[in-house]
């Protein structure tokens, strides 16, 4: 049985096709998010079908998740991203007990029981500090690609302390630090630490290892290390972290079919 999962996030749409017999993803892809969410999602879905050599009628269920899930009207059902990320991570890392997902505009900490059931969760979707948005702002300000930031952070000798809790004011603070001559790698590493600190505060005392790190921001090297320091425990990046939500959606489809 093939099920499709579509994660309509705030910055990108991710989709996977999952074969429940083989217990693996047979296709995955992503596209930039835009105003016509449903059309973009539909095009991505068609592309995956071609990639996997599968027809639409062979897909038993389409499940949408993420910020824009209700706009994907061709989906059979919707499931929240908390449940989907939990299921997605559990499939790939069955022993995970805490999932940290940092996306473009939100961050989540999800506590799992044995068997991958969600026990508890906390979300920050009201404030950009502690999300990928902070890194995007820095990249824009430094006129470089988001993915180049991690190269810089790696070179840091002494990460800067970013004190502002608000991304808007933190931007001013960063400009000030650069004007004072603070090395760029230290500033970028400081931003990573600030995000990790906010996520650690969101988690409170609920962290139970093993901790799995997922979401688009997990792709940035250095962030896992920053989280490890903030949480004082090892943090492991889930393979293909940007697809866990879509994978979890597809798994949800397999459950209900």
């Amino acid at each position: 049985m093939i099920c499709a999962g579509i994660d309509a996030g705030s910055r990108a749409i991710k989709a996977v096709l999952f074969d429940s017999g083989r217990r693996e993803m047979v296709a995955s892809g992503l596209a930039d998010q835009g105003v016509e969410q449903e059309r973009l999602a539909s095009e991505l879905f068609e592309k995956l079908l071609q990639q996997a050599g599968v027809t639409r009628s062979e897909v038993s269920a389409i499940v949408a998740t993420g910020y824009g899930r209700n706009a994907i009207r061709f989906a059979d059902t919707t499931v929240t991203e908390i449940t989907c990320h939990a299921r997605g991570v559990h499939h790939v890392v069955p022993e995970a007990r805490t999932v940290i997902e940092i996306g473009g505009q939100d961050s989540k900490v999800i506590c799992l029981e044995d068997g991958g059931r969600v026990r508890d969760f906390a979300m920050n979707d009201r404030c950009a500090a502690g999300t990928g948005r902070f890194l995007e702002m820095v990249a824009t300000r430094l006129n470089m690609g988001w993915d180049k930031l991690s190269d810089l952070a790696r070179q840091s000798k002494k990460p800067a302390l970013i004190s502002n809790m608000c991304v808007v004011f933190a931007e001013t603070e960063i400009i000030g630090l650069l004007a004072e001559g603070k090395p760029l790698p230290d500033v970028v590493a400081g931003v990573q630490n600030a995000i990790a600190t906010r996520v650690a505060a969101l988690a409170g005392r609920s962290i139970a290892p093993p901790v799995s790190f997922t979401g688009g921001v997990a792709l940035q090297p250095g962030m896992a290390r920053a989280l490890q320091e903030a949480l004082s425990c090892p943090v492991h990046i889930v393979p293909k972290p940007q697809f866990t939500g879509a994978l979890g959606a597809a798994l949800s489809g397999c459950r209900t079919t």
């Binding site: 910020y67 499931v79 929240t80 991203e81 908390i82 449940t83 068997g115 059931r117 969600v118 026990r119 508890d120 969760f121 906390a122 979300m123 979707d125 009201r126 409170g204 005392r205």
Partner: protein, 461 residues
Amino acid sequence: MNAAPRQLTLEQWDEHYAQLRAAGLREAAYGGPLRRHVDRERDFRLQELRFDNSPAALRLWNFLLTENERLREARHRGAKLVGTMKDLGTVPVMAYSLPKVLAFYPDGAWWTPCLMECSDKLQQQADAMGIDASFCPVRAMLPAFQNGEHFPRPDLLVCSTGAVCDDFSAIAQRLEHLGYPVFWWEMPRRRAPSPGEAACVLPGNLAAPRFQVECVRSELERVGRALGEVADVDLQDARLAEGIRAANKVRSLLQALRETVYTSSAAPLPAMEMLVAEMLAIHFCSDREEATAVLAELLATARARTEANAAAVDPSAARVYWVNPVADLRAMNLLEDCGGRICGSDFMFSHALDLIPEDMPPLEALALIALADPMVGPAGDRAGRIVRECRAGRAEAVVVSRIPGASHCAREGEIIRRTVHEQLGIPAIELEVPSVCDAMLPTLASRLQALVETVKSGRTR
């Protein structure tokens, strides 16, 4: 008149009201169509809410929404008005024991910005008075006093202090600085008795040192004298005992209502009506006798529906225990929209739902009840009661609703959630509901939906 339970929009209620009237509906003097509150009082929020379709619910809403009128009429008749602040449920029992005295909670103005969808401008006015949005929505009370457009100025203001939340305490102090004298009384922070210390058993399965009960009793004696001066009548034990009996009638009705609704397999009444009904416990919505009648009718409706297996909410809904009242009533509709139902509640005044002992001196009994306030002692005690009630209501999840700016929410949520996990193993989340939550509906819905998904996936195991 015995239609199957449904939740109606305001528009649907217009039509339903006409049908009820045609069928011979008899109402109290404050009755009438809900629509009039939008037209006359600018309670625009009613246009976004869904209401239970029973005549009992209609009576409840009309009772709630006509309180300010009732207070003004009482003032006109020469009654004395006592504004009781912070202490939820004890001083009003004393006030209502006196003839021609009504007590009400000025703090109740916290719902005005919600009901009027901020057209009241109370929040902006509070900003200008130096109390901004970082304080809890009770700040709406300050300009409500100043502009006199909501409740009349009370003849006496009584406020508990000590073991109370900071933001409320700060707002009440600001009120005093603005020229409203306040009669303050001390509430000690409840603690467990030390080994060998004389102890008292409090309602709600709690204990406190005898010393603390004595402290509160002597403070309530002082309050009683102040009330007596306002009423020009001594608040003697006999009066107080009668007042306690009358209050206990209300409390008994509420207990029965909670039991009927919360333990039922299919909720006979929706969450929003239950929240409003429970609020009657604290000061009887300024009419103790009528509050008793309103609750009796609600209870009869709930019982009849339970017997007929008639559910107001989907029977397969996730059973959710709700902690803390919401600044926007719409959140209670949202819970049900997301597939949940309420099976228990702690709206911060569980002590006002317990019966006041009638077999001891009245002031002593009131001191015991006042000390049993969940907000006065450790959050662990509160969590303990929540766990017991979760078991009774077969809760599958707990929602701790944070009140924006409320100082107690910073830490107690974590303690409550941890206790619930450890003792019940059910999910517990926190979410924050502002006075008008429209902009946050998607994020609130995500959280509640995720909680319901978690609950329902657990059911298939």
